[in-house]
Subunit: 385 residues, 2 copies
């Protein structure tokens, strides 16, 4: 109750602005009369709010179709939300690839770009690639850098609230990197850094395999598996930002690491040597017995880790992404294992967004940030961090 | 944004009522002038709200001290929240004991009662004991049954939103029991049933070891270990109400059950045979080597289960209750294990409420329910289920 500001006269005004903006974005070129009907607000209230939105550049008069204009004597003015009033970036920084998605304020994607990067590249080189991808994307789409309102970034590792990577073993030079601060130098807008699995969870909920569920676990399968979860539709980061760091779970059972599990020679694989890893899976498909055994060990580990997460969180849905999107062999063992231990086993499905999941989630987080500013009403919309 | 009701004229009125009620409960017999100052509301607004609270019986004029009344010519009227306008019960139903706590609308406990019950008692017998404890408690405190506004119940097992026990192996005849429905026949007010570990988590956060933290895991150690967690100060039940059911975690590692781990003979203990279990711990303390080994196995299991939960949820604080409150040997292994696997290991502490934790949490849940009705403001206070 501490946050209630009973005497605040601007509360209702802000609620009304949010309601009108929301209606504007949802409707197809509404008139003032439409907005009055949709929102239930009085005409003077709607007019007052619209004046403010005009001034902020968020609303513009919609030019009617020629035919309609002729048919009516003097058509009512129609309005639309100016999605082009600002832009957002969603960036993924991965071991082998950096990529970016660009959208307007409505979140619709208007451009994408990606570059390969060596898994041995240091932080400076990797950030240079990020900047190059972004510069190229802005140039190709003709969007000015000054039009960016927020940038979301998905990165491996445990990420602090200020965008510092507390631990990131998947990328060279990543642990301790002030990633948010470094990227903020390239942009004049807020830069939000998020763990990659967390970003992917948000993405699948937004426009992937989990649009129908608010309680999900997203598993980013790989040699350094990670997981992100939404609880009641909201990202659960944990107190220290380390929720879902199931990569350490196997240590509890004193079992071998994934690198060792996947090895067919007894020598652990290099976690960043994806070709070698892919080779094991390929050989397994071709019938190589040792490779099959290795893959089976790997799948068993993944299943164990996910089952522990499911027992702790009890989600409605588990979405499996990362490598596993190429592994037909993962879903069935996972389902049967969960059925053994859970009274009401969650549904298990593969990621729909695949390679685009992390960047898409990063874009959504940038959009969330901007929408909070647009729609912020104290006590009704809670800040993300 | 879907919940915003921009045109609702009663929103501000309800916020104002909540603010005034909150101020009334927090201040010591405030005057109208005090309330105006505390809330920042206008005098007419405060007067209007107070009128409604009078009518609802929630506010009464506070009789001033004799001395103060004489000193001033005509003292300003003072008011107080009528905590006695209604009452709440918090009930624990356990394997060996049922207990109840009674409070007024301010949550201050005004009475308590408990009865032993056999671990072999069926559901009917156990519920009879509950009713007897409650009847006795109400009689002793002189509180009319009709004054009860809500009843909270903490029970072992996975509890559905409607109060049905989906799985409850710790008590005979408990699985499938319509516990909420059965108890509702004895009360004319809402009856809220919650998993015992969940209730205990709420209690420790309210007035136990976790008052300073909003992100906690409570571990109810025992032969059927359970856990409850608060995320951002709110109970996390999971999609199917089964979050934290870590009793099944050991199955993942194909390890032995706690009953087997604690056995010194090779024959598993009866999970409900607490004397036999206590005997193992006593013997261990007395230096019996086989008992010590059994306790060590048990502690190791508990540590493993809790560590998995911590990796999944990343809480700020772990509170250990149940048996473990008698086990000095649990905290240190738990802390060192968590330090090994977690970047930022949570603090680990023992329950402060001990045996009273579950009933206290059940009382708090009843209080939450009533407060939601008193303070409910759509969009600012979210319903619990």
């Amino acid at each position: 109750m501490g946050r209630l500001t009973g005497g605040d006269p601007s509360l209702l005004r802000r609620i009304n602005s949010a309601v009108v903006l929301h209606a504007l974005r949802g409707a197809d070129a509404p008139t003032l009369t439409d907005l009055t009907r949709i929102t239930g607000l009085s005409r003077p209230t709607v007019e007052g709010v619209m004046e403010g939105l005009f001034e902020a550049g968020l609303v513009v008069e919609s030019v009617p179709d020629g035919g309609q204009a002729r048919r009516q004597g003097r058509p009512a003015r129609r309005f639309r939300f100016r999605a082009e009033a600002g832009h957002l970036l969603g960036i993924e920084i991965g071991p082998h690839r950096v990529s970016a998605l660009l959208s307007g304020l409505d979140g619709r994607i208007i451009g994408a770009g990606a570059r390969e990067v060596s898994e041995t590249a240091g932080a400076d080189d990797r950030l240079d690639k990020v900047r190059a991808v972004v510069a190229d994307l802005l140039r190709r789409t003709g969007v000015a850098r000054s039009s960016l309102r927020a940038v979301g970034v998905g990165s491996p590792g445990i990420v602090e609230a200020d965008g510092t990577v507390r631990l990131g073993t998947a990328l060279p030079g990543w642990t301790g990197l002030a990633l948010g601060e470094r990227l903020r130098r390239s942009f004049r807008c807020p830069v939000l850094v998020e763990n990659d699995a967390n970003a992917a969870a948000v993405a699948e909920h937004w426009k992937g395999a989990a649009t129908e569920s608010d309680d999900i676990v997203f598993v980013l399968a790989g040699l350094s598996p990670g997981a992100g979860s939404l609880i009641g539709g909201r990202l659960h980061r944990g107190f220290g930002g380390a929720a879902g760091e199931i990569g350490a779970l196997h240590l509890l059972g004193r079992e071998a690491t994934p690198e060792r599990l996947l090895s067919t020679t007894g020598t652990p694989l290099d976690p960043l040597d994806e070709p070698a890893v892919a080779d094991v899976f390929t050989k397994a498909r071709q019938g190589d017995v040792r490779a099959q055994a290795a893959v089976e060990r790997f799948v068993q580990r993944l299943v164990h880790d996910v089952a522990a997460l499911v027992l702790a969180l009890d989600p409605e849905l588990v979405v499996v992404g990362g490598w596993a999107t190429e592994l037909d062999d993962v879903l069935d063992p996972l389902r049967s294992e969960l059925a053994r231990y859970c009274l009401r086993p969650p549904r298990v499905t593969l990621s729909l967004l695949g390679e685009a999941a992390v960047a898409t989630g990063a874009l959504r987080l940038a959009l969330d940030h901007v929408e909070e500013q647009l729609f912020a009403v104290e006590g009704t919309v809670t800040a993300r961090r």
